[in-house]
């Protein structure tokens, strides 16, 4: 599964790790994150993320 990077702060969402602090299980694809999920470092919305290669 692809990693996604926050354009505002550079945080990388890694699906293998998920975001357990915010209730996101490891193994959750970026596309499957809830719409109101935000970057844990800067609070930017999902639309501010770009897929990494």
């Amino acid at each position: 599964m692809a990693k996604w990077e926050c354009l505002v702060c550079g945080y990388v969402y890694d699906p293998d790790e998920g975001d357990p602090d915010n209730g996101i299980e490891p193994g959750t694809a970026f596309e499957d994150l809830p719409d109101d999920w935000v970057c844990p470092e800067c609070g930017a919305g999902k639309d501010m993320f770009e897929q990494m290669d």
């Binding site: 990077e5 354009l7 505002v8 550079g10 602090d21 915010n22 800067c42 609070g43 770009e50």
Partner: protein
């Protein structure tokens, strides 16, 4: 080892998390003046507009600190540091001792010396209380003036539009976002901002904020007076230095640190908006994150991570305008090449600054499909000289250059 972190912003929390995960600290304590669990400061914009309810500002659930055995003391300001005794004094008179101390005390909004700036109705945006106050007043205000046309000033102005205001943005320099844009790009941005309902005045200087108790108008150097019942000043930030200065640590614009994030006391580190590295205080999140990583690594004695500086990158978020600015965008000295692209509709503007065969700066406005590619070309130092004549032509995307490496 007993580690004390002062400050619960993005810098302090990231140092704490990394140290907690490593398990090297027996005791890990965060002191914070603010009464809130960690929240990302950019979300204050959404708090101001009312899009984010106040109880949702905290990024993590309440037990986040506990689960990591981080002892967080909210609403607890540190008043002094005694380096000889490795002891801190709290504002309430209490004491605590440390083996390692991290200063992550951030910055405060700066207000230029304008006569009348102390009047009621003149605000800056940095904390939860600021956001709530400005939001409440904006919903009632007839005339709103925003002083400062930088990144934060524009984000704030667009939030004020969402509150129903039509703010007038005043910028002293000849164009908007002077640190991140050139004149051509700023003209494109200004049109986009005005289309959304704000007014922009560049090259104007504020002389005085007029009123009785409360602000009534803003007078410019030209003599012109703009009516105002709410003034929001976004003129940049200044590092919080007092604690470090009183402890005798070297400070300039920020607390001076080396590439290990050490101050001149090897048991005291500084990170984030309060830290100055090689003469620079960027006061942005990517820098705070990178510095927090290094400080934690050094304290844990795990790996020899050094801070090498990052190429500053800023992205406008709430405006619905795609704008990213990276590195050196207004080159002055030495040899450089600038490559520009603007679409026929005038809604997209892109520029690359190239020095010594490498991209050192970029403006990407109105289209963000190239943002990642440009970030990669810059961070990897890719030699773009072979492509220079074909940049921004059909048939060669910046991603193609990345992929060709």
């Amino acid at each position: 080892m007993r580690v004390i972190i002062i400050g619960n912003g993005v810098a302090g929390v990231n140092v704490a998390r990394a140290i907690a995960d490593s398990g090297v600290a027996d005791e890990l304590i965060i002191y914070s003046c603010e009464k809130h669990n960690y929240y990302p400061r950019p979300r204050l914009i959404e708090l101001l507009t009312g899009d984010l309810p106040p109880e949702a500002i905290a990024q993590y659930p309440d037990d986040w600190y506990q689960r990591r055995k981080i002892d967080v003391r909210l609403g607890c300001c540190v008043a002094a540091i005694d380096r000889d005794a490795r002891r801190i004094t709290l504002a309430d008179g209490g004491h605590d001792t440390y083996d390692k101390l991290v200063l992550a005390i951030g910055a405060h909004s700066w207000v230029p010396p304008i006569a009348g700036a102390e009047r009621q109705g003149v605000h800056t945006l940095r904390t939860v209380r600021d956001a709530e106050t400005i939001g409440a007043q904006a919903r009632k205000a007839e005339n709103v003036v925003c002083i400062g046309g930088g990144l934060l000033g524009l984000d704030t102005s667009m939030a004020l539009v969402r509150c129903g205001a039509s703010p007038v943005i005043l910028e002293a320099l000849p164009w908007l976002m002077p640190r991140q844009l050139d004149r051509e790009g700023a003209a494109v941005l200004q049109a986009l901002i005005e289309a959304r309902g704000a007014h922009v005045r560049v090259g104007v200087q504020v002389e005085e904020i007029i009123g009785d108790g409360r602000v009534r108008s803003v007078r410019l150097k030209s003599g012109e007076e703009l009516p105002a019942d709410l003034v929001v000043v976004s003129a940049g930030v200044r590092s919080n230095l007092l604690l470090a200065q009183q402890a005798g640590l070297s400070c300039n614009r920020g607390i001076i640190v080396n590439e290990r994030m050490e101050t001149d006391d090897p048991d005291i580190y500084a990170v984030g908006d309060c830290a100055e590295f090689k003469g620079m205080v960027w006061a942005i999140i990517p820098v705070a994150l990178a510095q927090a990583r290094v400080a934690a690594m050094q304290i844990c004695g795990q790996g020899d991570g050094l801070y090498e500086g990052v190429v500053p990158s800023t992205t406008l978020k709430v405006t619905g305008i795609d704008l990213t600015s990276i590195g050196e965008v207004n080159p002055q000295e030495g040899m450089f090449v600038e490559k520009r692209y603007q679409n026929a509709a005038g809604s997209v503007y892109e520029k690359l600054v190239i020095r010594d065969r490498r991209i050192v700066g970029a403006i990407l406005l109105g289209d963000r499909s190239d943002v990642r590619a440009v970030n990669q070309l810059i961070s990897r130092g890719v030699d773009v000289a072979p492509y220079i004549d074909r940049l921004f032509t059909a048939g060669l995307s910046l991603a193609d250059i990345v992929n060709a490496q």
